[in-house]
């Protein structure tokens, strides 16, 4: 399990002066150096970027989702760009449990970053098998259960969009590991709050809100769908307002930490998610656009906090989110840090 000092000391002397902002985040038994993680499926297994990114400065690295059997993924085309976003239909291509344990895990242990393994399954049983195999492996700080892949025909987002199924599955997984157990939720549901509550009941240490949104793209010039399957998952700036709303909703519904994900492209975006209640954030598509994006998000975030004299990230967390009894108020709640930071006149 990764334990790190809570006060960030950045090695990069050209970055903003982090000084003494307390960025530490606790996700159940896992302590993160800072709240910026790389999202599953967008950072490989970490080592692909190790020569350009100082992984030790990240809050953590979440691996590509691993399934029991290796998966070749979907046929081409897997990617389509959309206005301010991208669709993907990768189909959980991964090396499978055995090669993951044999080839990837040893390398993950050397990354120098907190590692969260993402696990995917078509049934609760499959997830249990993965957890039985990996639950006690050293070098894994936590597990993110991918209850929300839009690009597989079985065990995808729709299958898992049932609160009771989530709860029962987590109850089954919980005894199999003492590491952090995180449930990653789909946004394509009537109530992400209900799913989040079910996860809390099931013993999850945190929920991630949210995975990609189901979308579709047509290539009119070639008169066909762009992606190999009818639909894919939308990520990037286009979904940020949607993800932010779902993150807020989830954070308002549960007491466990919520990890925000969806369209985070800057430190300001990350601060927005944390402001509405997220404990940590994940950076996905940004890594394709700028491999060092996660580190830049962190630097920008810290610079903003330092400039405003905020010494603990926890003070900022949730301070922009309306309390349930004032869900109609655009103002920060009384007495919160956000209220104090608000400029007096516009």
């Amino acid at each position: 399990m990764t334990k790190r000092p809570g006060l960030a000391e950045r090695s990069d002397p050209t970055g903003p002066r982090i000084g003494s902002v307390d960025l530490m985040v606790r996700i159940g038994p896992l302590t993160l150096l800072n709240p910026v993680l790389t999202a599953s499926g967008t950072f490989g297994y970490g080592d692909e970027y190790a020569h350009v990114v100082d992984l030790g400065t990240l809050g953590g690295v979440i691996t590509k989702t691993v399934t029991v059997k290796p998966r070749p993924g979907n046929p081409p085309t897997r990617i389509a760009e959309t206005p301010a976003g991208m669709l993907n239909s990768i189909g959980l291509e991964n090396v499978g449990l055995e090669r993951f344990r044999r080839e990837k895990l040893p390398k993950l242990r050397e990354l120098g970053a907190a590692v969260v393994a993402s696990l995917g399954g078509e049934t609760p049983r499959e997830l249990a098998r993965l957890m039985e195999a990996l639950g006690d492996e050293p070098g894994i700080g936590g597990f993110e259960i991918n209850f929300s892949c839009p690009n597989v025909s079985k065990g995808g987002a729709r299958y898992w969009a049932v609160p009771r199924r989530l709860e029962r599955t987590l109850l089954m997984l919980r005894p199999l590991t003492r590491r952090a157990l995180i449930a990653k939720l789909s946004p394509d549901v009537t109530s992400v709050a209900d799913l989040a509550k079910a996860c809390e009941q099931g013993g999850a240490d945190a929920v991630t809100a949210v995975n990609t949104f189901v979308g579709m793209s047509v290539d009119l010039d070639h008169v066909r769908n762009r992606l190999n399957r009818s639909t894919g998952g939308l990520s990037g700036p286009a979904i940020k307002p949607l993800a932010l709303a779902r993150c807020w909703e989830a954070a308002a519904a549960v007491a466990i930490p919520v990890i925000g994900s969806g369209g985070i492209m800057s430190g300001r975006d990350a601060l927005e998610f944390i402001g509405v209640g997220a404990a940590a954030v994940q950076v996905g598509t940004l890594s394709f656009v700028r491999p060092r994006g996660a580190g830049e998000v962190l630097d920008e975030m810290v610079a903003w906090l330092v400039e405003r004299g905020v010494r603990r990230l926890d003070d900022w967390r949730g301070s922009l989110a309306p309390r349930p009894d004032e869900a109609c108020a655009p103002r920060p709640s009384r007495g919160t840090l956000a209220e104090r930071l608000r400029p007096r006149r516009r």
Binding site: T42, E48, V52, P72, P75, T77, I79, E93, E103, S287
Partner: protein, 302 residues
């Protein structure tokens, strides 16, 4: 593949860097195309012919994802690298690119993927379609530097689409390499496809041959078929829609041939395992963009 090539591939695969490039020259190149010269700090290796870069066209640009672009020329100038690119402003990305002016800056990941295995013995037959001419002229240069001439086949639908023909002629002349022209409509050179032309003259070229090709997939398919039919190894530069360009997103699969599926996991090919695709699919960005034609399932290539 030679042991040296294996090692080089392995080292190169993770040698790319993200650097800030400066636009040095940006001008029309004829036939609707533009030429772009970028100056990079040489912290990253000089690209080989066939390798590509990711151009990070950043906000406020209407484009989210980087655009992959083949390196069409590379020169070292002191502690700087000058990379040339040939493109047509056809969509939102390339139109954004076209707006860059000398002095502007753009971030790039360079160099990415694997280039042509020019070290392979035999008469180099370079087969270019349309803008595929540029990376292959770059390859011809590299061959010339190691004292080898090439047979350069250049085809297009009509003569208006023979991008940068005069430039190509001049440079190949200087190298003592031969230019073979073909147009589908016969408006210049041989009347037919570039592969029809190769078919005609192949026997008259010094054997054995080795093909390096760049152009539309339909042409590369014909190259692959011809190579198989004549027992000539062919290396082709593929394209795929890409997100990362670096192997992490798994967005750029190309279907492996049954032969390559059978060999999967054995050869290794020098590419670090984490950048390899899987038994069914190769990743265009890390295993390619240059592939041995026999390694792809051309029935399923789009």
């Amino acid at each position: 593949m030679s042991a040296l090539a294996l090692q080089e591939n392995a080292a190169r695969a993770l040698a790319w860097r993200q650097v800030t490039a400066r636009v040095a020259r940006h001008q029309d190149y004829g036939a609707g195309h533009r030429w772009l010269d970028l100056v990079l700090p040489a912290v990253a290796p000089r690209p080989l012919a066939g390798q590509f870069v990711q151009l990070l066209l950043e906000a406020p640009s209407p484009v989210l994802l980087p655009r992959p672009m083949s390196v069409a020329a590379a020169a070292t100038r002191g502690d700087r690298l000058v990379l040339g690119f040939l493109y047509a402003p056809v969509g939102s990305g390339t139109r954004t690119l076209a707006a860059l002016e000398p002095g502007d800056h753009v971030e790039v990941l360079s160099p990415l993927g694997r280039g042509y295995p020019l070290e392979i013995k035999g008469t180099p037959v370079l087969v270019a379609g349309g803008r595929g001419v540029a990376p292959l002229l770059f390859a011809a240069d590299a061959l010339a530097r190691s004292g080898r001439r090439c047979e350069f086949f250049f085809g297009a639908r009509d003569r208006g689409r023979l991008v940068g023909l005069e430039e190509a002629r001049r440079r190949l002349d200087r190298m003592g390499s031969r230019l073979h022209l073909a147009t589908d409509d016969g408006s210049r050179g041989f009347h037919g496809t570039v592969m029809d032309l190769l078919d005609r003259v192949a026997l008259r070229l010094p054997q054995p041959l080795v093909i390096h090709a760049c152009g539309p997939h339909s042409m590369l398919k014909a190259v692959a078929r011809w190579g198989t039919g004549h027992g000539v190894p062919a290396y082709v530069a593929m394209e795929s829609i890409m997100a990362c360009g670096t192997g992490v997103c798994r967005g750029c699969p190309l279907p492996r041939s049954s032969q390559a599926r059978a060999a999967y996991g054995r050869s290794g090919d020098g590419v670090p395992p984490s950048l390899l695709g899987n038994r069914d699919y190769a990743m265009c960005c890390t295993e390619g963009p240059v592939f041995a034609a026999e390694d792809l399932d051309w029935e399923r290539v789009e």
